[in-house]
Symmetry: C2
Subunit: 141 residues, 2 copies
């Protein structure tokens, strides 16, 4: 089955090989490449070959498979570079840090004194009973 | 089939219902609850019912399913709260921000002026040819 690609999408061009990349893993449905602006040594992004802008557009099959590839990549990073930890991160929307609008999953190896910052100031009052009831209602259909 | 649980694991206790939680979604394999120290309104964590400390221990089936649940939760957050974006984040190891050693996936809705910080200073020289060759070799077995 042909993959869904979008003409002006830079990641679709990388997937097709029209733009070069440092591919570290590839199968029928995914291509994993070294990030060109890495957070740390070995930072990989995983691209589903079917174009989807974000998690909302991704079909369930592609969503499922991408985490299995992320596990594979994370394990390789640990084996090869001995990183002490790994963040697996998928950003949706500019506000969330997404810069290319073809869904991708970051696999970021973590080392002592790296420059990665994945934090928040907890707001214990944010998850009110109203939030709970509304979300529960939406999800338990 | 019985789930794999670990006696002194707080998330296993939440899954079994021995510790109360605000459950917003549940199926045979996953429980999704409101985070008690949320980054933002509607911050959910998804817990696979089988105990695995991290992505390295998670079996492929549980890895696959958790991203499908994350899509479901992200979509609900967008529908209910109209968030402008969503971060899906899974931390492995203390250095990566993991605080409970039962794998969980954060689904963090993003709003203007929130306190979430998911950033890094890119190090363009980090992904050298050596990094490329070593990782490629490990992954293309």
């Amino acid at each position: 089955m042909g993959k869904v690609t979008v003409d002006d999408c830079i990641f679709c061009k990388i997937i097709k090989g029209d733009i070069p990349s440092k591919t570290v893993y590839e199968d029928d449905d995914y291509k994993a490449i070294l990030d060109v602006a890495p957070a740390s040594k070995g930072h990989v992004i995983i691209l589903p070959k079917n174009h989807a802008a974000n998690i909302f557009e991704l079909d369930d099959k592609d969503a499922a498979g991408v985490m299995v590839v992320a596990k594979k990549v994370a394990t390789a990073l640990k084996n090869v570079f001995g990183c002490e930890g790994v963040n697996i991160l998928q950003n949706n929307g500019e506000i969330a840090g997404q810069t290319v609008f073809h869904l991708h999953v970051h696999v970021i190896p973590r080392y002592e004194d790296d420059n990665v910052n994945v934090k928040w100031i907890p707001d214990k009052d944010a998850n009110t009973d109203d939030v709970y009831n509304e979300l529960k209602k939406e999800l338990q259909v």
